[in-house]
């Protein structure tokens, strides 16, 4: 194995009631790598993302089979606290969803309930700086976060996620609601964040997958069709279905 694994799944099956959404998914996520999950709507990529921090536990009548490991620990173990899993494996959603609180509190709140005892001002500043948002908001930390632009809100949500020091950040189409400039800022941010975190991103934007990720996995009807280096997937895919999808011929 070339890189250390941050997470991996082994023969993962996932069901919404009788409907099986994932079939035998075995996938490695290398530490400090960006992995893009691509595929048409309903192919299971967001389901997989939500499996990775046990967000699906919150949906009634769902069940999973197989294993998911964070480092080398199964995340479904008896002794594992799902809240702790979600701290280590943070998530950023499609639409920016800051708390209806001040910019400062958006960062501080999660850290506080996680028992952070350090200098809160410093944590807020560092988190915002890591997300290239500090200069834009340092004069208005006490203002309501909902007053920020969509792109700023999304960067705030990423700052909020990293404030609790996760190892992995899951991003579910983080730029689909943003304009091209804000999108470029988030992509730059992803490139910067990969130095410290492992990032797994669901995207419908093929160019984005090509730009930001080192690895790509292509899903169809809950099955991994092809996974590997992004450069291989986009330049010389092995599977015809991958090629048809990434070149926009179906999906």
């Amino acid at each position: 194995m070339d890189t250390k694994l941050a997470m991996h799944t082994k023969n993962l099956n996932f069901f919404y009631g009788d409907f099986q959404a994932l079939f035998d998914v075995s996938l490695d996520f290398g530490a400090n790598e960006v992995t893009a999950l691509i595929g048409p709507s309903g192919c299971g990529k967001s389901t997989l993302l939500r499996c990775l921090n046990r967000m699906n536990d919150l949906i009634p009548e769902t069940r999973s089979e197989g294993e998911i490991y964070f480092r080398d620990q199964p995340i479904h173990g008896q002794e594992v606290d799902p809240v702790e899993v979600r701290r280590q494996v943070g998530m950023v959603f499609q639409k920016p969803n800051p708390f209806p609180k001040t910019i400062y509190e958006n960062i501080a709140w999660g850290a506080r309930i996680n028992g952070y005892r350090g200098d809160m001002d410093e944590l807020v500043e560092t988190s915002l700086k890591k997300c290239a948002l500090w200069d834009e908001v340092k004069e208005k930390l006490k203002q309501n976060a909902l007053g920020l632009s969509g792109g700023q809100q999304q960067r705030l949500c990423i700052a909020r996620t990293i404030a609790v020091e996760p190892d992995v950040i899951l991003m579910d189409e983080p730029t689909s609601a943003l304009d091209p400039i804000s999108t470029a800022k988030i992509e730059d941010l992803i490139t910067e964040l990969r130095k410290r975190y492992t990032i797994i991103i669901v995207t419908h934007n093929m160019q984005q997958a090509g730009r930001v990720s080192e690895k790509t996995a292509f899903f169809l009807n809950g099955v991994i069709i092809e996974a590997g280096l992004t450069s291989d997937i986009f330049f010389n895919p092995k599977e015809e279905r991958t090629e048809a999808y990434i070149s926009g011929r179906f999906g």
Binding site: M206, Q207, G210, F235, N236, P237, E243, I246, S247, G248
Partner: protein, 219 residues
């Protein structure tokens, strides 16, 4: 259901334009060889004029490829095919230049001197023309196997190049007054040898478009 129909038409259009350019280049070579064989100055100047058209086609193909890359963000086979079209257009343009060089020999080399060397020049040019023709056939459906086989014929041109070179040098040693014309022949010999190299490049690009891997067909 087929999607991105306009995009697919664009890629097919570029492909067809390469074939059209290739046919024009092949025609030019054929006319240039006939012009030398029959000492036909009019035909030779026609070849020189049509080279401008070939050059223009290369620019048009490059432009179409650039627009397709900028507006359609091609990936995988499509991207390789577009890159390869740019490369092949460039090699065809150079082959077109060599047709022009061949046509110019009508003015630069006396019929007497040409007659001595013509059998080898004709063999080289015929080999080159058939390689151009067959490489275009291989390009039609990006037939990597066929491309490899076409490229292997370059060795025959190289061997003829060596023979002709020795012969021209011998002539110039014997008749120093022929050095001017002999030098033109040395250049022509070199250009015909390069023609084979350009066809080999085209064959390599065809293999690359098909497989995504760079072969070395002209080691």
């Amino acid at each position: 259901m087929e999607k991105r129909i306009h995009y697919q038409q664009q890629i097919r259009g570029i492909h067809q334009e390469i074939l059209r350019m290739g046919v024009l280049v092949e025609e030019s070579l054929r006319k240039a060889l006939t012009a030398v064989k029959t000492q036909n100055r009019e035909l030779a100047s026609g070849v020189i004029e049509s080279d401008a058209r070939i050059d223009k086609m290369q620019l048009e193909i490059e432009e179409r490829c650039t627009v397709a890359i900028a507006t359609e963000q091609p990936v995988a086979t499509d991207l390789r095919e577009i890159m390869v079209a740019i490369k092949i257009a460039s090699d065809l343009e150079r082959i077109g230049d060599h047709a022009r060089h061949l046509a110019r020999a009508v003015d630069r080399v006396s019929p007497e001197l040409m007659n001595e060397s013509f059998p080898i020049i004709e063999s080289m040019a015929e080999l080159g023309i058939s390689m151009v023709h067959d490489s275009l056939d291989a390009y039609v459906d990006l037939d990597a196997e066929r491309a490899r086989s076409v490229a292997s014929r370059d060795e025959q041109i190289d061997a003829l190049h060596h023979d002709l070179y020795a012969r021209i040098i011998g002539t110039m040693k014997e008749s120093p007054e022929l050095v001017d014309q002999g030098t033109s022949l040395v250049f022509l010999n070199r250009f015909l040898e390069r023609l084979g190299d350009h066809v080999t490049n085209i064959c390599e690009w065809i293999v690359y478009a098909r497989t995504g891997k760079h072969p070395e067909l002209n080691p």
